[in-house]
Symmetry: C2
Subunit: 408 residues, 2 copies
């Protein structure tokens, strides 16, 4: 199949591209490199040194003997989206090109607005361009388990049967997101559900758990590594804990640490997306996959990371700074995940194994962690915005790039 | 109380201002006049000739002996919102300044994006400015009953008790909106709910039924009339039917006409908003009011308008053009509305009485209806966009106005 990956330069976009190529699919990508620039905006960088996209393409050619067609462009410009879809007419589109950081969205009003606007706009642009140029393509849209919040009932996959005041219906499960970013994903879900209904589009909405991990089997060469963020803003919790352990600073569990979420290893996330692509939704079907392996509390993750760190010779303590987020710190959490299993998904990686792998891989980049050590501690507060005071004083990095695009 | 009305120049903003002044409240308003310009964009105008805002202020001074403080400005610019809130520090904010037309949002991709972006941005700007300058103010946010769609269970006011797979919780009622515009209101609801939770703001989210009517008791002078839209894009269904009857063209019931919605007379809508303002939500409280009087099918409305038209000497037939929207045409509809009644709201106007009043008032503006007769028939299609072909070829009118603002 020909698969268009938007956000192909990102943490999960890049491993997905490698995996699809290895499976014999054709891969087209688009990216505006804004994540690279926004990670710089908060004073950080990827722990893994990632090459330019042209060098990534060259490495893919040399190591895997495959080609990636690439467009440098911004989905915020409709004419760019139109051009890519009209030229490529993909069978599937995996939409990963969104602002993906909750803390980034909470910095200040401008970052809040930029997050919601960019994410909603890119999705609307894709939907309209699909209607015009690829009405039979299958959209695999990256959402987040965080759309659901932490309700006191089990979390179904998108829809649930309701009996209420004598009536009965199957309804979208209510969303209670916990940041402007998470709300932007809720908004996207609404737009995709509506578009699939009025235009008969095929859509899979992926409620993705928090990803952890640093490599996938296709990364047989250092030049093929994906980015690895460890700062407060862009790094997710497991990855950040391991960076903290290597740095010899306490693992920061926000508040009491009973916060529980769904998690999935990078490699299994890529597997899930591939399965979704290879089993497309029907025309007019909007389906929702809860894409995670297991639910863990932040305390459990910190203890596991800390134990493995100790075994590996690091001294990893755990700290409980005041929670910068507004969220329940002790709660039930019972999400359902059946749809992907029905399509053949099987978990291949364990938490412990991946944590060890991250330690092993990251060790050689310790210098890059040390250089940006100051941005690992939490400073962005849900109530106050940016407490460090350096981020909220400037506008968010524009998504760019300049108008010119085209295969590069 | 000092009440800030955003969108004070609009169909319901203006009557609300007059009503609040008559009740002894202080009124501050902001508007960018984009609705006036966007109604021109689709080739129409208000049936009632509405004066410039400066003349409206002068008429209020002369007729009611009251002052309205007015800012010409765009809520899409955060510095404008900041300035107004920092200067005025209102007790309540009624947020009506949004793109309010479902068909307008369905014209093409640019109108879809403009609608969602403008509406989400203005709300986020207000929320951030409230946090900074008016944290104790009460936000009364205009939503729509259309957020809920037409589920097969009764529609509660925002939240409902759920029992599911052995758990029990009170959750937001699922939203299934029917246009990009209606989804933008769903998005606003999410953002307001979240902000009230993390910042302890007071908020009332008004799920408003479709308004009909042309005047309120405070409009004792022609210069005090509010705008009255009758074109396909900006006119709502009852108002449009009466314009069609006066024009002697068939009343256009889209499809089978079993579509049922909640409706409310303009005067009672204004009453409801005033009651919400005078009974503010508590700090941190996010409450939802379903604000309508009765549910009617489109067929019922057309038959009622047609019968009254005949009595008044018009020959009003009913046509059923293919439905340009994607919606159920026969369905149950059982929304709850209790909260406003608990606060003392009572319906004061009947459908028939208001329809007669619209006929009487509109008769003298027949020439203005005739001049724009061509934009009353449906041309914007949910599946295809603008079928007339004249609207989707240009960008939506920018919200403007130019940077300068300030009390005028």
């Amino acid at each position: 199949m020909k698969v268009l990956i938007t956000g192909i330069d990102g943490y999960s976009g890049w491993p997905l591209a490698l995996h699809l190529l290895a499976r014999g699919h054709e891969v087209v990508g688009i990216d505006n490199f804004v994540t690279r620039r926004r990670v710089r905006e908060v004073g950080s960088w990827s722990a893994t040194p990632i090459p330019s996209f042209a060098r990534r393409q060259a490495a893919v050619r040399e190591v895997l003997g495959k080609e990636i067609t690439f467009y440098r462009g911004d989905l915020g410009r409709y004419e760019v989206v139109e051009k890519v879809l009209a030229t490529e007419r993909p069978d599937a589109i995996v939409h990963l090109a969104e602002q993906r950081s909750a803390p980034y969205s909470m910095i200040d009003v401008r970052h809040a607005v930029a997050t919601q606007i960019e994410n909603v706009t890119s999705t609307l642009h894709l939907l309209y361009a699909m209607r015009a140029y690829a009405p039979d393509a299958h959209l695999v849209k990256m959402g987040t388990m965080g759309e659901y919040g932490t309700p006191k009932v089990p979390i179904p996959e998108g829809f649930f049967e309701v009996e209420y005041r004598g009536g009965k219906d199957t309804l979208p499960f209510p969303r209670q997101a916990g940041s402007w970013y998470h709300w932007s994903k809720v908004f996207d879900s609404g737009d995709v559900m509506f578009a699939s209904r009025i235009w008969n589009l095929r859509a899979t909405d992926v409620m993705q758990g928090v990803i952890y991990g640093i490599r996938t089997p296709e990364m047989t060469d250092r030049r093929l590594l994906t980015r690895f963020d460890f700062d407060e803003t862009w790094g997710t919790v497991v990855n950040r804990f391991i960076a903290q352990a290597i740095l010899g600073v306490p693992l920061t569990v926000y508040g009491r640490g009973g916060q529980t979420r769904g998690f999935i290893a990078l490699e299994d996330s890529v597997q899930s997306l591939r399965i979704a692509i290879e089993h497309p939704a029907r025309p007019g079907e909007y389906r929702v996959f809860n894409q995670f392996d297991a639910a863990y509390s932040v305390n459990h993750l910190a203890q596991t990371a800390s134990r493995i760190a100790t075994e590996l010779g690091y001294s990893a303590t755990i700290a409980h700074p005041p929670n910068p987020r507004v969220e329940a710190e002790e709660h039930g959490y019972e999400p359902v995940h059946e749809h992907l299993y029905e399509l053949g998904y099987r978990r291949t990686r364990t938490l412990e194994e991946v944590i060890r792998e991250i330690f092993t891989t990251l060790r050689r980049y310790r210098g890059r962690l040390v250089a940006k050590q100051h941005v690992v501690q939490p400073a962005i507060d849900w109530r106050q915005g940016d407490n460090r005071g350096s981020l909220g004083t400037r506008a968010p990095t524009p998504p760019g790039p300049p108008p010119s695009s085209g295969a590069a």
